[in-house]
Amino acid sequence: VVVVAVLLTLGTWVGEDDHFPFGPFRMYATATTPTGAVSVLAIEVRMPGGPWRPADLEPHSVGISRAELEGQFRRVVAEPERLGMLADAHARLHPDERRWEAVRLLRVGRRLVDGRPTGSEQRTVLAQWAR
């Protein structure tokens, strides 16, 4: 018990998520500035000949969740072929559905002023991949 307590205390002081299960309990631990943008990532996909349409960014759909993709999004921007891996994962998890021909990653931002949303929404394409 004492060893576990020491490890956990250390992890909380200086550790990172990497040190699971002794990392810091940091969910919702960052401070959001009351005036600024709150953004979420989303994906859109295209079937052959179809328009772009939103797709679930969830483990049951593509093997990874939105929050996780947010943790790795720089790698996606640097290597857009990673979006193709999402298409492959989707094909494996849902073999009966139509295959995705193209995938793009978007940032959807909502502005916040004094902790209150202003209602304006900004959509930016961060990366794109096509088969």
Binding site: L8, T9, T12, P21, G23, H60, I64, A89, G115
Partner: protein, 329 residues
């Protein structure tokens, strides 16, 4: 001498006897929850096999131990292995088969289950996000096997039970206290006045929470209270049993409101909160339904479907001697 004495007193507190049946009910809950968690609440790892290994970013533990890159096989072994282990452990606790093999099998199964569930979590958390609601439950999975194969209706108090339950309680308290600590470390003192909860509501708020966005002070007040109650969590060890249970009720209400507002529930943590409650009453209650509860009567009769040799006189004031189990501390 000072630190040594403090350690001795801590150890005495940790091992002060608690009802064995409370720990046994808790153990059943822990293993039953594993099924729910792996198959329904947090099945995230089960989808990893489909995703290319390039997305896998092993955690430190996955680099120190040679844990494999998640494939469909790795996922299936950790998933179905931990599920079967938990099922078998529940069966042992409920049926309590006689014989030495069962008493050896229980802790072995328990620790194998803990290891496989841990791997399943590593698979979940090696893709960019780590949840912090699982420390206490992992701790519970690691310590419950040390309880040994005890009887649900055991009338005894035991040091093992005290150790298991208090260790889990410490895990719960650490989760709160260190969560507040992490907020101060990563968010800084201004976390309490920030828009973190507003952000959470924007991202995943329910209709109940949306109106609060127009009253930002309510969300800021929420942040102050969160930090206050998290920092105060260790105090529950100092107050009376009655106030401790009230505090636990308060924690459960906080999590219920959180769920109503942003549909986030720290399920494994909620399970661990049970370690504070007089769970032994659940099994006695079921006895009371079979026969009216005699105040000082003879030992209650076993429920009809239980074989006589596994449930005789367990609730009586002087229970039949229960074979002792080697304690793994």
């Amino acid at each position: 001498v000072g630190p040594v004495r403090a350690l001795q007193r801590f150890s005495a507190w940790l091992h002060a006897p608690l009802p064995e049946s409370r720990a046994a009910v808790f153990a059943v809950a822990v293993y039953a929850f594993l099924l729910l968690d792996v198959l329904y609440l947090h099945p995230i790892s089960s989808y990893r096999g489909a995703l290319d290994g390039a997305w896998y970013q092993p955690l430190l533990v996955g680099r120190i131990l040679p844990l494999p890159v998640p494939t469909e096989t790795v996922v299936a072994v950790s998933m179905w292995g931990s599920v079967s282990g938990a099922l078998a452990a529940v069966a042992l606790l409920l049926l309590h088969p006689p014989g030495r093999w069962a008493r050896v099998a229980f802790p072995v199964l328990g620790w194998v289950t803990a290891a496989l569930w841990f791997e399943f979590q590593v698979v979940a958390f090696s893709y960019g996000k780590v949840d912090h609601d699982r420390f206490g439950y992992l701790l519970a999975l690691c310590v419950v096997p040390a309880l040994g194969l005890v009887r649900l209706r055991s009338g005894r108090l035991s040091e093992n039970a005290g150790w298991v339950l208090r260790t889990v309680q410490l895990g719960v308290i650490a989760t709160y206290f260190y969560a507040a600590f992490a907020k101060l470390r990563f968010g800084g003192p201004e976390w309490v006045n920030s828009a973190t909860v507003a952000r959470a509501v924007i991202r995943r708020g329910t209709e109940l929470a949306e109106p609060l966005l127009q009253m930002p002070w309510t969300l800021v007040a929420t942040q102050w209270s969160i930090v206050a109650f998290e920092l105060a969590a260790p105090l529950v060890l100092l107050v009376s049993e009655r106030w401790r249970r009230r505090a636990v009720a308060g924690w459960y209400s906080f999590h219920a409101v959180t769920y109503a507002m942003i549909t986030i529930a720290f399920w494994p943590h909620l399970l661990c909160l049970l370690a504070f409650l007089p769970l032994e009453r659940l099994v006695r209650l079921r006895f009371a339904q079979v026969e009216p509860p005699p105040r000082t009567g003879p030992a209650l009769r076993p429920r009809p479907y239980r074989s006589p040799e596994t449930a005789s006189g367990q609730i009586s004031p002087a229970p039949a001697p229960v074979p002792s189990v080697p304690a793994g501390r």
